[in-house]
Amino acid sequence: MKITLNVNATPHDLELDPRTSLLDALRDHLDLTGSKKGCDHGQCGACTVLVNGRRINSCLALAVMHEGDEITTIEGVGTPDHLSPLQKAFIRHDGYQCGYCTPGQIMSATGMLNEVAEGWPSNVTADLEGDTDLTREELSERMSGNLCRCSAYPGIVAAIFDAAEEDRPGADQKSIEEKRVAAE
């Protein structure tokens, strides 16, 4: 069937088998292979994309369900020559090894930081009504849907904290950069 998918702010007209998952539409029909297929069952998070700003497992969605939605993939976050702060932080902290789960980790972290900023509680949030702080436990709980068999978790956690600090409203970018240079 004919559908239009809005991916990374570009509309794409497609003719798809209705059984096509959003992930396969991206990978096989739009050549956006940054979203990875690790399990095709919503169990690993490698296929994470943003739909209208919210993170989802694109392998668990049919492409035809997302006509009219704003879909953001890793390709829309940053290119090798123009990386986002989070992508740069993953490189600095070696938040990957083989790189296969990496786009999903970055997309998931992007969505997760928005959820925290909006005050969404998680399974480990003590006070469901109050503000949400991005503690180590909160970060790990909220990222636990993204598996990494190389087990680069320490680097991923460090990268997300690093980028979150840089992204914080009113953050002193100069002192962050100075600290970073000193650390290296």
């Binding site: 956006l32 292979t33 297929k37 690993c44 290119t79 740069k88 600095r92 090894q97 790990s140 087990s151």
Partner: protein
């Protein structure tokens, strides 16, 4: 020209002299920009014009014969192009470094989930649908699937050793441990499923695959298809994790190649995650009996390590659980024996640190039990039993810094704060600390690489070596940069293509040492040519930042070169591997909380200290350490393949049910490297690190559980049901 070195004698420590400052430093991975932007291209991401999609169909019996495949049940479905590969389909992937076709059983079934055929269609959705509809008839036979009751048991000669008198040692000892440990099967579970795109150009095959050892994989694929290896090219520049699971050619590659040949169009076959669990290698389950005999001072006088593992009939591999037990600790009376039960479960093969990974879960737990009995601190007990030389062969160690790993680690971790068993309680948590030694045999393999230096001060490294996440792109570039006196960003590394010089491949923790040595040798040959142009002896030459200095001469490279200089490096293992016992060593320290209400274990912090010779990149080496430690957490606490007792099938064949560690299972980890150079290992003085981090890690977790709450789990993984009933009031 080829610079060849057979590692027969100690080589000069050239990387200490070169002075560029490119080696060891924690350089970011050069391919990182592509990976974080989703632009690194993995096997399933190549496309070919007119490509068709294949889906594998699996056996739904455990043992027997396929009597018919009803192709008519699917050929009328939309888009279906055919059913292929039934005759060539291998039973199992090739074992690591096989270099020959795996068994192609022609319709015989030996385990539940074995691939039978591939269905190819115009689209993935069509092929997947057809695969679920293919009717296969079988003549089923009774199958043995339980290693404990199997009637066919092999005792491999290579795993037998009887030195001194272990029975006498046990009966004369002041202290003994005689304990049996069991470990479950594991899956490598790399995040990228096995995937191949096969394209024929006349008689020549190009395969975009996800493989660890291309030189061997090419031979395996060609042999499986009955063609000349020269006609096969395998391309794997990025591999989404391996961990042993992609050592040998596997079924999807052969299926894609056969189907593509018959259809005369490119075919891509990607395994579903469930198929990765069922068809590719699993780590065997094991039952291990460890006996330790010690005198009144805690000196070990006898050590025995016996096991039962399993594999399919006719598979040559059996996991050597006792591999490091042969040399970690002394004791003159020693006994080793392995039994391999021939059963019909998914093929057993190499999963990260085959042998050490589960052998040290047993031995290092037994050492903790011996420490408890003798009343000697577990760190001290280990240190005092480190042998001067290999306790069986009598060979000297090439280097053995285990004592320093234990001592430095104990100090850094705050081991002296460790309390007695069950003595530290924080709210509803019992808290305890554990320690374990790590050892992983060090190996050098034949490897080749071509290094090209250009007059503009750039260089190119080319080899069919792979980077499966291990950091190969980084370290090979660093070695070339260090040797050629160039900034690392001036060196480009091309990997993963069998058109390039054949490397060791990634496996056995030998990749960095072997492929790295070949790059070192190629660059060394280039240095000789530069020295000649400059008019100095090679040993006088200094190369730094594109400037050559020597014999009172100082010239930019461009002035010394009339064109690019290209040299091949070729390393081969030699007598240093026979004359020295070589191993990486380490020590793991772990603090856990055991919940007094639920029996749940949480790892609170962990430290590993590694002695692995020269560290080639501190950043990627640290990540390898982290990876191993986290695998250790998984093997200690959660990971287990469950086989259905009725038919041997894997019932938890996906990530929801096979529990690998996730973010919340992993606390802050600390890694330290001991300064060490191993002169006998290779010209880089390095040792393998990819598997060392896993060896012993899980035992440190289990020993911490015992220290926390007094429950000794000998049946891994230590899930709450094995702890909770035994908790103190």
């Amino acid at each position: 020209m080829t610079e060849h070195l057979k590692m027969d004698k100690v080589q000069p420590r050239m990387l200490d002299e070169t002075g560029q400052g490119a080696i060891t430093v924690p350089m970011d991975r050069p391919e990182g920009r592509l990976k974080v932007a989703g632009q690194a291209t993995y096997a399933a991401e190549y496309k070919a014009e007119n490509m068709a999609y294949g889906v594998l169909v699996r056996a739904t019996i455990t043992k027997g014969q396929v009597t018919s495949i009803d192709e008519g049940s699917v050929t009328s479905l939309p888009g279906v192009l055919g059913v292929f590969a039934t005759g060539k389909m291998p039973r199992s992937p090739a074992q690591g470094t096989a270099g020959a076709a795996p068994i192609q059983p022609e319709g015989r079934v030996d385990y539940f989930g074995q691939p039978i055929a591939v269905i190819v269609a115009e689209s993935f959705e069509q092929a997947r649908h057809a695969a679920s509809n293919l009717k296969i008839a079988y003549e089923a036979e009774t199958a043995e699937t339980d290693p404990e009751t199997a009637s066919e048991i092999d005792v491999p000669d290579g795993q037998l050793l009887d030195q001194g008198d272990i029975e006498a040692a046990m009966s004369d000892a002041a202290f003994t441990v005689d304990a049996t440990y069991t470990t479950p099967p594991h899956n490598s579970a790399a995040m990228e499923p096995h995937a191949s795109l096969a394209e024929w150009h006349g008689d020549n095959l190009v395969l975009h695959g996800a493989y660890q050892m291309l030189k061997f994989n090419r031979e395996e694929l060609a042999d499986s298809l009955g063609i000349d290896p020269e006609k096969v090219r395998i391309h794997s520049p990025y591999v989404g994790g391996g961990f042993g699971g992609k050592l040998g050619i596997s079924q999807e590659a052969i299926a894609a190649a056969v189907a593509a040949r018959e259809l005369k169009r490119p075919v891509r076959v990607v395994m579903a995650r469930q198929q990765v669990f069922e068809m590719t290698m699993r780590r065997t389950e094991s039952r291990q009996r460890v006996r330790l005999a010690a005198d009144k001072d805690g000196k070990i006088t006898g050590l025995a390590h016996e096991d039962r593992v399993s594999n399919l009939p006719e598979e040559g591999f059996s996991e050597p659980t006792a591999v490091a037990s042969h040399f970690l600790y002394g004791g003159e009376n020693r006994f080793f024996r392995q039994e391999v039960a021939r059963i019909h479960r998914t093929t057993a093969g190499s999963v990260r640190a085959p042998g050490e990974a589960i052998g040290q879960l047993a031995l290092e737990c037994a050492m903790d039990e011996l420490a408890e009995k003798t009343g000697i601190d577990p760190v001290q007990l280990r240190i005092q039993n480190i042998p001067e030389k290999h306790p069986e062969s009598g060979l000297p160690f090439s280097s053995n810094s285990l004592a320093q790993c234990l001592t430095d680690g104990a100090e850094r971790f705050g081991w002296s704060e460790r309390k007695g068993v069950g003595k530290r309680r924080e709210g509803e948590w019992f808290v305890g600390m554990g320690v374990a030694s790590a050892a992983r045999t060090n190996i050098l393999m034949e490897s080749r690489a071509r290094v090209t230096l250009n007059p503009d001060g750039t260089a190119l490294v080319e080899t069919d070596m792979t980077d499966i996440g291990t950091g190969t792109y980084a370290i090979l570039g660093q070695i070339a940069a260090e040797m050629l006196g160039l900034p690392t960003e001036k060196v480009t590394v091309e990997l993963g293509d069998t058109n390039l010089p054949g490397a060791s491949g990634s496996g056995g923790s030998w990749g960095a040492a072997s492929a790295g040595s070949s790059v070192f040798l190629g660059a060394k040959a280039i240095r000789s040519k530069i020295a000649k142009s400059l008019g100095c002896a090679p040993e006088e030459l200094r190369l730094k930042d594109g400037i050559a200095t020597g014999a009172n001469n100082r010239r930019p490279l461009a002035e010394l070169m009339s064109g690019p200089i290209s040299e091949e490096g070729h390393i081969e293992p030699g007598t240093t591997m026979e004359e020295f016992a070589q191993s990486g060593f380490g020590a793991h320290f772990c603090e856990v909380g055991v919940n007094a209400v639920t029996g749940e274990v949480r790892v609170r912090r962990m430290l590993a200290v590694f002695a692995a010779g020269r560290i080639l990149n501190e950043k990627t080496a640290r990540s390898q350490g982290h990876g191993g430690m986290i695998w250790g957490i998984g093997s200690a606490l959660t990971e287990a393949i469950e086989h259905d007792p009725r038919d041997g099938r894997i019932v938890n064949h996906d990530f929801a049910e096979y529990h690998m560690p996730v973010h919340l299972d992993v606390p802050d980890l600390d890694v330290m490297f001991v300064e060490e150079l191993d002169d006998h290992s290779n010209p880089l003085q390095s040792k393998g690190i990819g598997e060392l981090g896993l060896s012993g890690a899980g035992a440190a977790v289990a020993n911490a559980i015992y220290n926390a709450c007094g429950v000794r789990v000998r049946d891994y993984p230590a899930t709450p049901d094995k702890i909770f009933p035994h908790l103190p009031e």
